[in-house]
Structure formats: structure tokens, C-alpha cells
Symmetry: D2
């Protein structure tokens, strides 16, 4: 059985695993206050070209999201996001469990617009009953989105301007940021650091065993942020493991190079489906392929592959998702391509 | 600088690291639903002699504590524990952040008694204003405790009986359980499974890179428990890493064997302090040494060692803590012993 | 300025005020444990024909909603309701502040259907990622709804059956229940008690100074419910005030009789608007009139009346709401009718 | 049966009830945005000599406490108070339910000192693990305290200075403030407004049917405070009732005059117990009498009086509490005095 259902079928990329092995015997203090983490923070801030920003490491994406959002919002505030946003649909109400409403907005291709944010704020501020309504207090985007799409640089600049106009912190979930950066190089780390109050650089889906690097450019948000991490259960005792891994993945630009390879394999898979006339459910820009398959084809492919049933399209067709990732091997993709051909006969 | 300030100065014990390397390329599904985790769960339940119990893996101790406690309590209930309990003093209010009061009881040697629990329940039930008071809904113990002490089998049986009498789930935090099991073999896994509703087998402080194995013997508590884990941010995407590590540490009884070595080194350190006439702040039973040192001696040792200032005793003396752990090397202890001798001159 | 913008323009109906005056000097114990409350509970249960149910009094509707919902749900559960439901739009995230997601469903005329609830449960249960998604744990309806509409007896029976099939408690917000009972007599208290796990009989909008009577037919939900009330800030010290008022409003069936008068006045207002060709935004069944007016007419009426701007319809028209209530006087309505005529010229 | 067990045995003082009756037919808008509330706010700020402060009305003390505290604290912060503080022992964990730890300090006569607050802050700031510990973020006092004692002006000035030094908002719970002001006139409203960031003027225990007036001198705390009130369930629909009552009780200085009468009656009761040689459990300064009685005497008095069993002193003696309040009648006290004499024989 070959796994294409998510971005974390294997362990870590070799360089990351090697770094963990090489440093295993070194002694260090806990809670990411060690020299490995310091070095990783230095590297990340340098790559962000943001010397005054701050980096915090946590183990996973839900932790990153709930900790940043709960730290940024006042009790009566909620977070604006796409209705399909990960925090709205796939984190078991983790944000609500911290007391805050997720304010879902209609999405197109997984994205929301600056105009929608402006409209939401204006609707709130002009409502006579505004005090009876959750106040939008933050904007959450994913880049790439849950549908694998990307915001353009222009869209993000516009979003950032609206957020600043209304005093809304802008937070970008970069769980798959490597694949996004490889696919759209102008939305890079310095750019993100210049438009966001907070974003995180995904590790779990991008070559690490686990780990996300939260970058806070807002010093207000950074104040006492480590208390929040500890309170929400996100402070790793052997925090060094996060610094070691992020340092390794950023050496020789592995983070983007390996993502580019995964993206290229995703394009191969997409092309093969398209060559058989399968409609795309969403375009493949980074490492995810959303394609509509007949249930027959699905059943055949299921014999040897795991992939995700995304949405029922009609009685005989289903939208499915395949993911490549930094540990996907060319021979696995070749096997899949051949089996796609066979299944389509 | 040598680190004796906590239980996680290094990475993992060799067998655990090797297991991670050996399995790195294998594909598996996520969220601890893979075969590695299944196998680890099977081994743990076998060692617990509790075929009907359930095992869940999370990354760290605060996650384990807050998830179990929030799952077990109703909104108006609180958790009884020693005033020195980890959840009461060193988790930044993680339990309160889930809405529940921690009900601290006076401790002796880090422990509370069945009689205290009975008294707390009786005081609640007999108070005319009981509905205005947080209702005790659970008992939390640490074994070993925060002071390195151990509950005896008899104390735990008595506690368990009182808990059942009052319908209070009993939850034991086993962050350092390996060291406890090595030091007091009759409080073993089958025994714990027979008296607790929930306990966790510590990994982070016991040889793993990270990870805690929560054992739920209560099927009521187990129902939908994975939703709780996800909601609180504790569900590891590459969950296999937890299964792989726990499987490795339980092979050849490494979990207890390596803990016994750490305990033996702790005894060496304790003995050396005692031989110099230093009073113990708490007795060393497992892997922690709590000793009262003059501030002069502290200052000398600080030049080459990290250890924890625990409590100011008087103007010239401080209670400090040294920890050994499964990765501590004999030569590190020998260096410390020699430097203790030198500092005492 | 005459107030038609909400249901609570005045104080209490005369009988209620008189009862408060008559009992003012009597001594009683606090927290609704007094004889006045006991008597009111007895009367309500008798009228509900539900001797085994339980009645709890709180001061306001948001308190009633958040207390019942937080008591009924487990942490990972959310509450299904119409997107326009009061808890979803006009309580500043009070439910989310207790940790729970409000799961809004598309509404028609302010109502949701049993089929939608079934679909939501089936979608959850059949999703492979179900543990990553908030689980529906309760259904919340308003009767009358926020749009002044009513569920039919058949709709409610169907809803109740689906809820029981899936183990979902059914909770009905009866903030305006008196007006609903007057308009649709077969959805009466015994019927509600037979189909709901919890509902509340509104007082604040129905003739009292304040107060809602929560009826719990589920003994599971009733267990320790007073702790919840106290914790959420809903336990009134001079709780007698709630019992005294509810007893007064239920004497001589005032609760329904006075509501019927308010409904009749609402019909007069509706008829007058209709006679001028104004389209209704929602039909007037109980005490609320939702009508679309030109902005010119709005401006004229605003000079002497307060009413609520509900929704912008187009650049020159607005949907507005007028409410009557148990303290509305015939001469106030006559003045309004005359001014409607004048404004329409 | 005569009630001396709490401060709210009856309804309202006559002037308050009359004011409610007089205004019952007047129309007003909801949620305390009406002219009655505006006038009451103006009067209160004038009496506080604090034109730039803000007044918000809520129904009860627990609502006032939880709303102010949850509004003032960041998620990782807790509130310092006496271990006997109302929020710590008699609100069913209402503060914890908003996510915050209550940090109880040892008390003497129900009071804590500025030195204790300083020590708590210094202990936190100097602890190497400070990020793992709840940060003190506010100080909560009651005046009068739960033991009926009062802070002196000097004690409060010292407390305020320490709070400002450490940036801790100071919040005073004035549930029984009228009795305190009558007993110790120099701790008056202008003084409280000058030293606190927030305090509330109790109404429920001080002559009203219900209601507390929160005074916020901190504009930071006041920002968006009405959202907090609504979210926590504290916004009264017919908010006018709060303004009407507070206006009535502040006319002719009734608030203090009537409290002085209640205090005088408390002194009579205290004196009678003392004359029989009964030891005081705490001195009577305002309207509460804490006295140690033999269980025999208790049993005799229980036949005709309700009072509160406060604490078991030994096998044959109990500390009990009697309260007077603004509605206590002289003949009730005379009856009690006579029965005390009889019971002591």
C-alpha cells in the first residue's frame, strides 16, 4: 500500500534525521531555551530579513493556531477565515475551546478577499446591536490553502492593508508553506514577515518529524507569548529537537528545494489524470492534486493506494485528493502513474 | 557544562533513536492510527495485564494532564491534588484554562492521603452552600511525586478505595514512572491499571525524545477521547513516532532497566552529599536528589554543573535538585562526585 | 417617542408588579430555594403536565441559553441551530465563551428541519476525519423564531424523533413563548415538555420585569444543574423575585391572555402596512411585524417611533421590525396606525 | 421564622420599590442605554467625584466579579485574593470557568496585605520557571470582607501603591459597600475611585431588589466592556431597572443612612452576645455578627431564627453568622435579643 493521502506518510527527510542522530548525545537545557533553538531562530529571522521579529517553536499546527489566536484575541473577539479554513473545519473546535468564535466567510478556491474582510468589519461597526455580536479581531489565512491554492502577492498586500486599516492582526497558517514558496517564489519569507503580524513556517508537512516555527512580527503579540505556549500544552520539554530540525531543513535551502521536487511530482500526477480527461476539482499549484474520479477508478486505485475522499460529486463520481511530500520517492509516483493508466482502461 | 537540572538533558536512549531511524522510510497513516502504534498499544496493554483498557499517545505531560482532566470533569467540578502538584504549580494554569479549578490539598513529602480526600468530599457534601462551591470531581496524584517520593502500594489501594466510594476518578501522572517502577517494583503497571481510572506512562523523562502513553481503564472516560486529544492540540500528525518509540523502550524491559541505572547513579550522588554532612531536603528514592547546600558550595558547583534551585532555606543555604536520567553517563556522575568533594573543602 | 423596537419597552404587567409589592416585606431565604419559587415551580410543572420534570429560574435569556448548552455538551461537542439563531448571532459568542462551537445550519423563515439535523449527523458520522470535526451534540431551536415564525406541531415531532434517534438533546428557546402559545395553541406546555429535553418559558419579553423559567425534562441534564447556574453567574440572590413573578403571570392564564392581546395588536399593524402595499419580510404570526419600507417612510416614522432596522433590501428600501408586547397600549397602536397612513401619502 | 442568615431576606427598601412602581409605565430602550441609567451613572460618578470614570450595571455579584476579572486578565494571568475571598470559595469556580486561576493568599481577619502582594509578584518574577507559573495579573479585595472586617484607608493606599508599582489592576468587591461606608466613612466613593481600577457598589445586599454598579476608573478596562457584559450573560434586557433602583437608593443618601441603621442593629446583637460571655469569631464592624455559640444555644435559637453555621469550633461549639440589612426591622431585632437572653439561661 502506498500512501498519498496526506503530507506525512514517512518520517523525516534524511538531513533532518541525521541532524537528530548527530546531536543526540549533546546536553542542553529544556523548553527551547538551548543553543540549537537559538541558532535556528537566528537563521529563520535572517531568512525572513526581520531582525526584530521573534520565533517560537511548537510541535504541531493545531497548537500553533490555537496558541496564536488565543493570545491575539480579547474574549469578545472572533477570527475571520474562509469557511473551509482548517481552524473552522478540522481542529475539533480547538479555537472555540479557548473561548473564541470562528467567523467563517464564503470562500472561492479556498481563499477569501480583502473586500470580504472590509465588509465584515463595516457590517459589524454599523450594526446598532454591535455589542451583542462577536467582534472580528483577527484574520486567519492558509497559504497554501486547504484546497492547495495560493494567494498572490497582490492579494496578500491588499489583505494586509485592510487588516492594518481596521487594526486586525493578520495571521497566516503556513503548514505547507514550503510547497507554496517553491510554487510561487515571490511570496517568500521576507514578504510574509512584512505583511503579517504572525505566521508559521510548517515543518510537520515539510520534511520534519514534527514542528512548526511561529514567527511573530508584532511585539505586542510576542509579549509573554511563552506563557501562552506552556499553558496550551505546546511547550516541548526537549525543545532542542525543534531547533535541530529547523536548522537542518534550512541548510542548503533544503526547505524549498525538496518542496520543489514534491511539487514537480504532483504536476506529473495531475498531468496524468488530465491526460485521461479527468476534471480537476481544484488546480494543482503546489503538492496537492484534487481530481474528480469515477467511483470505479477510485475502487481500482484503492487496492494499492491510499488517498483522501474529499467530496461526493454525484452518484458515480468523487472528488479525491492525492498529496506528494518531501519524502515521496520517484518510483512511488511512477507506480502510481502506471496504475492510473491501468485503472482508466 | 554538565546538565543535572532536569530529566531531559539529552535526546533519546540509543534503542529509541535507532528504532526511529530504522522505520523512517516506512509509510504509514497519520494520527497514531498506524500499525506501529497498534503494536505499541498491544505491548503496553499486555504489560498492564489490562486487555480491556485503552492506550492513547500524546507528546507531552501537560497535554496528557489537561486532556485527561478536561475529559473527565463536568464544568462545575475541580481536581483534588497536592498543593505542590505539577498541575497546580508548573503548568501555567493549563487546567484552569480548560475551565476547572485545581483544588490543592496540603502535602507531606509531596503526597496527599486517602483521609484528606475523604475529608474534602465530606466537607463539600455537608456544606449547606455546596452548590456555590466547586465540587471535587477527580483525584490527581504524581508517582513519583514532584519531590521524588513514592506512594506505597498500601497508600494507593487506600486512595483508590476512597475514590471509588465517592465516585471520583483516580488519575496518576507517571511522567517519571520508569524511575518509580525501578525503585518500588510492586507498584507496577498491572497494579496501576487495577486501581486507576487513568494514568500515563512517561516517555519524555524516561528515555524517549518525547511522548506519554495515557492508559484509560475507564471505558466511560475512553469514549470519544480522541476528539479531546485533537481539540486540545495533542494529536501528533506523524503519530507513528510515538508508537515506534514506546515499542522500542518496552523491548527487553529497557524502560525499567535503564531507569534502575539512573536511580543507582542518583544514589551515588546522594551518598556523596550525605557523606559530607549535607542534609537531605527530601529522600532520594528514584532519580532525583534534593539536598540542602550552603550557597558557597552552590556557587562552586554552578561553574561546571546545571542544577535546580528549589527553595531558599535560610540566608546562607538553598535546597537544590539534581536529576539523573536514562541518558546520564557514568563519567558525568564521576566528574560530579569529584567536584562535590572539591567544593566541600 | 413610542417604542416598538423590542419586547421590553416598559416594566412589568400590573399583576406582576403588584405581586412584587405585596410580597416585598415577607422574609425568605435566597437563591430560589424559597416558598414562592417552590409554588411557581409547582404551578409550571402542573401546567406542563410533567410532574417529574424540573424548573430552574434565571434572570435572562442569554444566561438560560449558555447555562443549558454548557451543561448539556461535552467539550468536543457543538450545538446545531439555524444560522440566524440567537445564540449564533446576538449573544456576543456566549456559547463559544463556554468552549463550544455553534454549528449554524441554513434556515428558511428562521427555521431548520429534522432532515437537516439528520444530514448533519450523517455527514459527521460518515466522515473519515470525524475526530477532527466538532461533533453535533444538541439541537437548539427558538419558538417563536428570531423571524417571528412558529414551528408546527408536526415539524417539532419530526425534529424530536430525529434528535432521539441520534441521542441529541433538544432545547427550545422560548424567550417569546407566550406569543407563540397564543398564536398556535397546540404547541402548548405539555406538548413541549413531551418532546424537549429542555426548554425555557420566557418572562422578560412576556410581561415580567425579568426572568426565564428553564424546564428540564431530562433528569441527566438536571443533575447538579444548580452548580452550573451559580458558576455561570445566573443564580439570583433574591431568587424569590423570579418565583413571585412567574406565579403572578400564570394566574388566570395571564401569560397567554395578555400575549393574545399583543398578537392582535401586531395583526392590526401588519394589516395596515399590507393595506398600503408594503411587502412583508416575514409573515406576522405572533407579536412581531417584519415589513419592507421605503427609506422615506422609515425616516418619517422615525420621528416619533423607535423600531429596528433589520436588513437593507436595496438602496431605497429596508426591512424593519416592529414588536408589540404585553404592556403595549391600544392608544399607542392607534397612534402608530394613523402615522403609518400619514407616512404613506 | 425570622431570617438573619444573609443580607437579602426581604425585597427592596420602600423608596426603591416605589421608584420601580412609579416608572413602570414609562417607555425606554433596553440594555441600560436608557435615560434612567444615564441619570444613575451621572449621580454615581458625581458621588465618586470621578467624572472620567465609567459605570456599568449588572444584576449580581458573581456576574460583576467574573466579568471584570475576565475582562482585565490575559489568558496566562491569575487573580490574587484572600484564600477566603468570595471568588475563591463561593462562586463555584466562576472565575476558573473563564480560564483563570484564582491565586489564594493566606488571610488574617479576611484581609491580605500589600506586603503579601509584593512578595507574590517578587516570587513570580524571580522564579527561573516563571513561564510555567500563572502570572499574577490583578488583585481582588472585598470591602467589607467575607468576615465583615474593613480595610483601613492606610491599608488600601499601601495596596494601591504596590499594585501600581507592579502594574496590577486593583479591583474591590463592594457587595456590602454601604455597610462599610457607614462604619468607616473615610473609605468613601471618591477615595475608592482614586485608588482602584475597578470596584463595584453593591445593590443586592444593600437595599435593592438586585443590582451592582461597576465603576471602572481605568479607561483601558472600560474599552469594549459592554461586549464582555453581554457575552457573560450579565446584560439585563430591561436594564432601566438597574438605573431606576440605583438612582432611588442614592437619593437623600439613603445608601449610607439605611446601612448605618443596619449596622446599629448589628451592634445591639453583638453586644447582647458579648454580655452573655460569648466569644466573637470576628469583630462586628458593619452589618455582620460572627459569634461562637454552644450547640445547645444554637439549637434553641434555630427554632425561631435562621442564621448561618460558619465553622465548627469544637465538638460542642460552632461559629455562626447573623446579618442585619437595610430591611431589618427593629422589632425583629428586639425579638432576637429577648430570645438570646432566654437561650442563654
Amino acid at each position: 500500500m502506498l500512501h498519498f493521502e496526506c503530507d506525512y506518510a514517512c518520517g523525516a527527510v534524511p538531513a533532518v534525521l541525521q541532524a537528530l542522530a548527530d546531536t543526540n548525545d549533546a546536553q542542553a537545557c529544556g523548553y527551547s531555551e538551548d543553543a540549537f533553538c537559538d541558532e535556528a531562530r537566528r537563521i529563520i529571522l535572517e531568512k525572513c530579513n526581520a531582525p526584530h521579529a521573534h520565533v517560537h517553536f511548537v510541535v504541531g499546527g493545531t497548537q500553533a493556531n490555537l496558541t496564536v489566536i488565543a493570545a491575539a484575541l480579547r474574549p469578545y473577539e472572533g477570527v475571520l477565515c474562509a469557511e473551509t479554513g482548517h481552524i473552522n473545519v478540522h481542529e475539533t473546535g480547538a479555537v472555540e475551546a479557548t473561548g473564541h468564535k470562528v467567523l467563517g466567510l464564503p470562500q472561492k478556491d479556498g481563499k477569501i478577499t480583502a473586500a470580504q474582510v472590509r465588509q465584515a468589519m463595516e457590517a459589524h461597526l454599523s450594526d446598532a446591536s454591535f455589542e451583542h455580536i462577536v467582534r472580528p479581531g483577527m484574520v486567519y489565512l492558509s497559504h497554501p490553502t486547504e484546497l492547495g491554492t495560493l494567494y498572490t502577492k497582490e492579494e496578500l498586500i491588499e489583505m494586509s492593508c485592510v487588516c492594518r486599516e481596521y487594526g486586525l492582526p493578520l495571521f497566516i497558517d503556513g503548514a505547507r508553506l514550503a510547497y507554496g514558496m517553491a510554487a510561487m517564489p515571490d511570496v517568500d519569507l521576507p514578504f510574509l514577515a512584512s505583511i503579517c503580524d504572525a505566521f508559521y513556517i510548517g515543518g510537520t508537512k515539510c520534511g520534519l518529524l514534527f514542528g512548526e516555527a511561529i514567527v511573530l512580527t508584532s511585539s505586542a503579540l510576542n509579549q509573554h507569548f511563552r506563557y501562552h505556549i506552556k499553558q496550551r500544552g505546546g511547550m516541548l520539554a526537549k525543545g532542542r529537537l525543534l531547533g535541530i530540525q529547523f536548522k537542518a531543513i534550512f541548510e542548503d535551502d533544503l526547505y524549498v528545494k525538496l518542496a520543489a521536487q514534491a511539487n514537480a511530482m504532483a504536476q506529473q500526477i495531475k498531468a496524468r489524470f488530465v491526460s485521461h480527461g479527468c476534471p480537476l476539482f481544484a488546480d494543482t499549484i503546489a503538492n496537492q492534486i484534487f481530481v474528480v474520479l469515477s467511483n470505479d477508478v477510485c475502487d481500482k486505485l484503492k487496492e494499492k493506494y491510499r488517498f483522501t475522499a474529499w467530496e461526493k460529486v454525484d452518484d458515480t463520481h468523487t472528488a479525491v485528493r492525492f498529496c506528494t511530500n518531501m519524502t515521496t520517492k520517484p518510483e512511488e509516483v511512477e507506480a502510481l502513474l502506471a496504475d492510473i493508466d491501468r485503472a482508466m482502461v
